[in-house]
Symmetry: D2
Subunit: 337 residues, 4 copies
Amino acid sequence: MRVAVLRGVGDVAMEQRAVPSPGPGEVLVKVTAVGVCGSDTHYFDHGRIGRFVVDEPLVLGHEASGVIVAVGPGVIGRQVGQRVSIEPGRPDFTCEQCLAGRYNLCPEMRFFATPPIDGAFAEHVVVHEAMAHVVPDNVSDEAAALLEPLSVAVWAARKGAVGAGSRVLVTGAGAIGLLCVQVARALGATRIAVSDVNPARLGVASELGATDVIDARTTGLSDLGWSPTVLLECSGHPPVVAEGIRSLAAAGRAVLVGMGGDELPLPLSYVQEHEIEVTGIFRYANTWPTAIALVASGRVDLDRLVTGRFGLAQAADALTAARRDPAAIKAIVRPGS
Amino acid sequence: MRVAVLRGVGDVAMEQRAVPSPGPGEVLVKVTAVGVCGSDTHYFDHGRIGRFVVDEPLVLGHEASGVIVAVGPGVIGRQVGQRVSIEPGRPDFTCEQCLAGRYNLCPEMRFFATPPIDGAFAEHVVVHEAMAHVVPDNVSDEAAALLEPLSVAVWAARKGAVGAGSRVLVTGAGAIGLLCVQVARALGATRIAVSDVNPARLGVASELGATDVIDARTTGLSDLGWSPTVLLECSGHPPVVAEGIRSLAAAGRAVLVGMGGDELPLPLSYVQEHEIEVTGIFRYANTWPTAIALVASGRVDLDRLVTGRFGLAQAADALTAARRDPAAIKAIVRPGS
Amino acid sequence: MRVAVLRGVGDVAMEQRAVPSPGPGEVLVKVTAVGVCGSDTHYFDHGRIGRFVVDEPLVLGHEASGVIVAVGPGVIGRQVGQRVSIEPGRPDFTCEQCLAGRYNLCPEMRFFATPPIDGAFAEHVVVHEAMAHVVPDNVSDEAAALLEPLSVAVWAARKGAVGAGSRVLVTGAGAIGLLCVQVARALGATRIAVSDVNPARLGVASELGATDVIDARTTGLSDLGWSPTVLLECSGHPPVVAEGIRSLAAAGRAVLVGMGGDELPLPLSYVQEHEIEVTGIFRYANTWPTAIALVASGRVDLDRLVTGRFGLAQAADALTAARRDPAAIKAIVRPGS
Amino acid sequence: MRVAVLRGVGDVAMEQRAVPSPGPGEVLVKVTAVGVCGSDTHYFDHGRIGRFVVDEPLVLGHEASGVIVAVGPGVIGRQVGQRVSIEPGRPDFTCEQCLAGRYNLCPEMRFFATPPIDGAFAEHVVVHEAMAHVVPDNVSDEAAALLEPLSVAVWAARKGAVGAGSRVLVTGAGAIGLLCVQVARALGATRIAVSDVNPARLGVASELGATDVIDARTTGLSDLGWSPTVLLECSGHPPVVAEGIRSLAAAGRAVLVGMGGDELPLPLSYVQEHEIEVTGIFRYANTWPTAIALVASGRVDLDRLVTGRFGLAQAADALTAARRDPAAIKAIVRPGS
């Protein structure tokens, strides 16, 4: 099968590899669509993210959908022919974190496109059947791939306890921020503000349900006129994080989604006097059923985010699409085309 | 001022009373609209609800909106001229339940239209300023009145932990049931089934967001084809309650909203083996801000429920409207007309 | 190896069986101690519990400890020689309930001594390594076995949200009730009442931390003088359950631990007016680390509950010990003696 | 009556004032004991804490107990002669935060010894009856005063979700830290580590239930050997906060109790990768009933913390006692002596 491999900084090349065989409990998926994530681009540009270093060839891509073409021994819940969205992590299932329902914190997690585990820029991948989520017909292949970033937004909203009447501030209107807007709306948030420096993205945010948009080049968060109860921080910029936290209502919650380096100045006395809860998220757990239901019921529109499509051989173009077009939101690689 | 007074079973008469004066912290509200609740009709028909007995003349009506026309000493947060939705209870604010945020469980609660406390079938009422919730212009007078039953639905959904991807079963499609449908939808529930014996009401349920309707005359809950994660029980019929609980998925939650007598057969072994959580609700607490936001943002449509309008002198007609018209959902009394 | 097998009602006989081999991820445990549970005795006496029927020979016993004597392929976290407490269930680890941290609700659960799965009245058993919890030296073999019923009490307390200042009512002072007393005390409950008809057990309850004891032969729960915030119902007697719920403070929680048939009269209006939360428990999840820590730190005394010791050949005597001695609490079978 | 008044930095003087009269809902309390808090000393030394500036004479002291000697109009729940512990804040009871049970976040809060509200270094004070908590006979006057700092510890533990099996790290072994140790133990924490630079305080921590003590002059938190699940940060030193957070287990919680300036470096990537929840506390809400129950039941020993007693005229000595004696923990002012 054909695979796009990151061999070094800025160097992605096509290789031929053997189609893998599904082991016990595993399924073989023919990949139909793979979304490009900012982390893929970061590995392409820098060869590392923090402590994760690409020192051997690595297959990128962890937002993927496909069709089951073979099942391994003992698979009981999946069949050949099913269309699936891939949850790209494989925890050990039996450690204390897994048993407690926090499998995203499993110390033995093997995650797609995170060195040394290969990802989905390939014609086929193998995953555990529990991580191959069957999608209904009214969810497109590309939407099925984008259930992965939607899961990040669902998880962020859950950690932020977004619910009926929540007033949500989303800082950063990239793909994750735009998904946070949609999820917040779907969960009953009645004020949803979005800040960014990119007017095109703010326009999409409005279209997808934001009630207030803030052009961060000219306007501060304090000009909002109301106090958010939840901050979903998707920019990763330390000053934005601090300003976002300071904008929260008493007893508000801040969820740090964007990655912004190792340390962050936390406005301590504000956090204490207003009993703000601050947390960060690491991937997600138990989000796929919810994400599928949100898309299948029409509450969240994933197809709207797709702004470019590429073949496997154009993976490098897909990885760099966002820097060429400020209106780009999400590039999709289609290994079969 | 004119007041409609329940003097005995089936006997409502107009009386003249002095306009009350707002005390410290209180406001005087000129009533614009009052919804008729099933409990009002029950008092009209039977003169009692359980241990609450009408043994002196009683003013009914507890779903009310109006305009502030005077403020008492020390009122700092409300002004003459504001349009308000009335939260019809007055807790003592300082007991252990109140301080814990559960003021609905305050043992000193004085609640509208509950003997011996008068309600809102009157031209004016006095309430504490904290219970007079200012509504924005895009919320109609009648919708402002119906924020009270909406609060019941919001509270039920909160107790049921309805959220993104919840699968909700609403048993009983009266006004509260229909509001539960809308609230469940607004909070991200992706499957919402409603059962009733009245096809007209099931039609409205579909229109308001139900994904499945069950004609209980011919179809059992077990024919649903999927397991609800939340039961919002609004019928009060013991066999429906038990069947509803037995339909729940493991770890499901049942919220008993409908009143159905003193005792209920609980399917114990089902509850244990599936760790179902069962709870009942008593009015609501801290729901108005959420309810207002849901209506003002267009998530919940209260005006759609209004099926009849009556003057104060026609209060008896309003109280009996539902029995004359199976399509009736909510009668409104307008004291000013 | 020798095994005690239930061949029919009242008929337990010794058999020779091959020592099982641990499969992938499994360990072989030489059993040192097994507690006798009321459910074992119920199978012995009646051949069934509800829908679970003993229609083939069954090995009883699910409260067990032992020493690891062999490990299967791929075992990475356990070693030969470790003393372990056995968690007697084997979920599939990968279904929706398991991934959500509720593995006790796994539909594929295989549980010791529940037809057709054999239990621990045997010289050796095989379990998944994740279910073989290593215990420190200061936890005795018998205490290690009794971590299983302690887990029930920990789970009940968790479902009841027992914490600092809780006022707990435990109905039924059998082994589980007595463990609930100790757990409630360890978690900060400051009033702990226990009711039973057996004065010997009430004496033990006092010794273990109960602040009030109620002889149910002569005294009603309403004579308690204070309102519990949590009911841990361990009797399974419907009138006690109903009376217990009616004794709760507003916003109280009732956890139905004792099994008492298929249906139970629930005091509906009391539950509604006081917003009582009622739930049942089914085994436990993620309790062993807590249970071990409570025993190892001296907060809970399990050894105190042991009132009889038997060899494997005396299993029938162990199963019927409680009916011969009203002061009996927990019989232990020691397969090695 | 006699009152000790802070007139300027380092200047406390006795004054005569009229005994205040209790208004509606209020009681007059003859003060028996007042604990000295670090914040009192900070006002004495610096004339301000952050944005709170002493620019008029101020009576310090907010940890107080006494006896009711008069009741105002409408008081129904308190009587002359009752011994009470004073909760030193007066919220407005009716704002959105109060109604939600978060009265500590009430924007209209009037709090003892916080400019311009006078405190309890006086022979008499007036408080709302809801804030005068009756204590049982087995709680001493001094313990009744120290229910206030105990409330801080109870609130911290609640925010940290300390419970059975929690592994708690307390950084800073001052009065609050030592109370956190006791509360953690009372709530079922099974490992409790305390770090400080003062060996005398570490000794007291061991005596009160700490399982591990860390002399921070020589030992880092990473030498602990186990990962805490909860950090109760009572030092306010930014490097300790950051190190404490980095020591937490995945899904751990950090509660920032100590005040340490306006900003704090938060270890962002650690917080994200381990999904740590960080929050700060501001006073407390609904803690007195729990705190009283913990002391009355013997779970927490407050009297042990008292290391000095002073008359009202010796208030300045009381305020500076801690700097004269490294073994000092809590100074008490007794206005009646």
